[in-house]
Symmetry: C2
Subunit: 344 residues, 2 copies
């Protein structure tokens, strides 16, 4: 059963005009008499004429919709990004189609192909932890499909990119840990395939070196599924704490890892912050209600979503490719709380 709308043809018949005239009248085309234009427009609005979008799309090869490819919506960071994306799209009259990769390369590929094939006008992408090969994007990109990457980005494709200052955020958090007197700071992070992992690790390195602390590879744990599987986190923390000289603090690289590690430390009875300090990336803003409060690095997720959306729509609507692709970097915000407040 279908929604019955009147068509341009109906209007033409009713007003004894040709479809082309009606079409032009509706589009406010210049070469049309004010009289007929008004006539048509009045009739159209009286009869609630709505152009059939599928027909327009078929003709124009554009759908006024953008596809979003991300890992998992319930992740706080992503849900806020998504909200930002939607808010811009709403104002620009684009529809937002979402897909989740669940950190699976296979699924990401399928989603991307499906979106492209179902003809979105552009793609907003945060790569899955499993994605090394990016052929599914390059092919589309070469064919001219606008793509903007956010958060987990790549330099294998030349396009706009929206990220937080990941290096800076990790640096700040590490400095805070050092300042609080921690000397053996471990790093629990995601797959080294994704950009954010490398950038955050760099910030961690920089801060350690600046503080004259040694970087110990044994103190860095990579969770290949970004913490999607609980065992990853358990294993990482277990191994760290079993080290001959165990860490006295943890720097976690993502929402899920931070929460996971924090919960695990508490569950295992570690005293935070005395015995172990913990800080990490997280957009969960009730972290202050934890016991002790959790020191977090916050990313302006909503703003990042807006920016990504704006850049993509810009790309879609500009006739020709931009001279230069932008890389928008958003400052992070360190909120120091009890979990790093060791009294020396």
């Amino acid at each position: 059963m279908k929604l019955e709308n009147i068509t341009i043809k109906d209007i033409a018949r009713a007003l004894d005009l040709s479809v082309s005239t009606v079409s032009r009248a509706l589009k406010d085309s210049y070469k049309i008499s004010g009289e007929t234009r008004l006539l048509v427009q009045r009739y159209a609005s009286e009869h609630q004429y709505r152009p059939n979008v599928m027909a327009q799309s078929l003709k124009s090869q554009r759908s006024r919709s953008i596809g979003v490819v991300l890992c998992n919506v319930p992740n706080v960071f992503f849900s806020e990004v998504l909200s930002g994306i939607e808010s811009v799209a709403y104002n620009s009259d684009y529809l937002v189609i979402i897909t989740q990769s669940q950190e699976s390369y296979q699924r990401e590929v399928k989603n991307v192909q499906n979106l492209a094939w179902r003809s979105v006008d552009g793609l907003l992408v945060s790569l899955s932890t499993e994605s090394e090969n990016l052929d599914h994007f390059t092919r589309l990109h070469e064919q001219g499909l606008p793509i903007v990457f956010f958060d987990r980005v790549t330099d294998l494709l030349q396009t706009h990119v929206v990220v937080a200052d990941n290096r800076g955020g990790a640096y700040d958090a590490t400095v805070e840990l050092v300042r609080s007197g921690y000397r053996r700071i471990a790093h629990v992070t995601s797959s080294p395939h994704v950009s954010i992992t490398l950038e955050r690790r760099q910030g961690y390195f920089d801060a350690l070196q600046e503080a004259g602390l040694a970087v110990d590879e044994a103190c860095i744990k990579y969770c290949m599924h970004g913490g999607m599987v609980a065992e990853e986190i358990e294993q990482a923390v277990t191994e760290l704490m079993a080290l001959p000289s165990p860490p006295d603090a943890l720097l976690c690289a993502s929402d899920r890892l931070t929460m996971g590690c924090y919960a695990l430390l508490r569950r295992r009875g570690y005293r935070i912050p005395e015995q172990v300090g913990i800080a990490g990336f997280s957009n969960f803003n009730a972290a202050e209600l934890f016991c002790p409060g959790l020191t977090t690095v916050r990313q302006p997720a909503f703003e990042m979503g807006k920016a990504a959306s704006e850049l993509l729509i810009g790309l879609i609507e500009s006739k020709r490719p931009p001279r230069e692709y932008e890389q928008r970097v958003f400052a992070t915000e360190l909120v120091a709380r009890g979990s790093t407040a060791r009294v020396r």
Copy 2:
């Protein structure tokens, strides 16, 4: 610039067949020789033929996409529902288009109209707190557009509905408060326009009455924007605590309200659970990390999203309207934690 795909016409030309034959061969139609079918299908797959979805949609008047209308994605409950919706849609090869009403009636109307006009095959809706008038749905519904409501539902429209056992959840939480010795239990809830408010209030009433406790209207505070505006919550709590005989416990009716009230009580220095107990609906599962842990009523959000999605797709794909509309009710789960553990 557009993605170049070969069309059915190209195949026809290459194989010296007619487009109709090719079309039928691709659809595995019965009246076609096995030979030509194989020929066509091989050529198609070799040349990566992808049917143009816009053309198919224009013809069939179906888009294989569903629209989701909800308040706000970053809300934990909704983000989990959304994830459930997406997971089912993915398996059934439907695309999910999301829109946020931000609790605004205006915006809900716009989103619904836009989605319908942009021809989604069906709608998944959780009403905004402001929505009393539902004409924007009834019109579409009468025209045959499949709609399934979830969470904030209505009985003004005859259709499938997916909800949590809201009465039961509120009842359980209130009973828990009573069991812990609280005697003057206030209720902070959302707008009375939405179904969940009434149902949850009923559970609260039932439990109070069963316990022989008086229901005091002064102890019920309605936040008309569901806690979207922080002042609402502040005002509600302030007024409650300023009552001649202030409450000794709070039952909160939604994610945002629960977190908001809890944070506020802590900020204002109330001792929880001794001075004030608090429990409420929330899908935030790190509530155990709070100090004290927060007693929550959890809804199986992901499962609810899946159910809603399945019902909608069923509606879309069945030729005729079902004999009977379903109302799927999901059990809630009470997780009692420190915030209601008063030692008597």
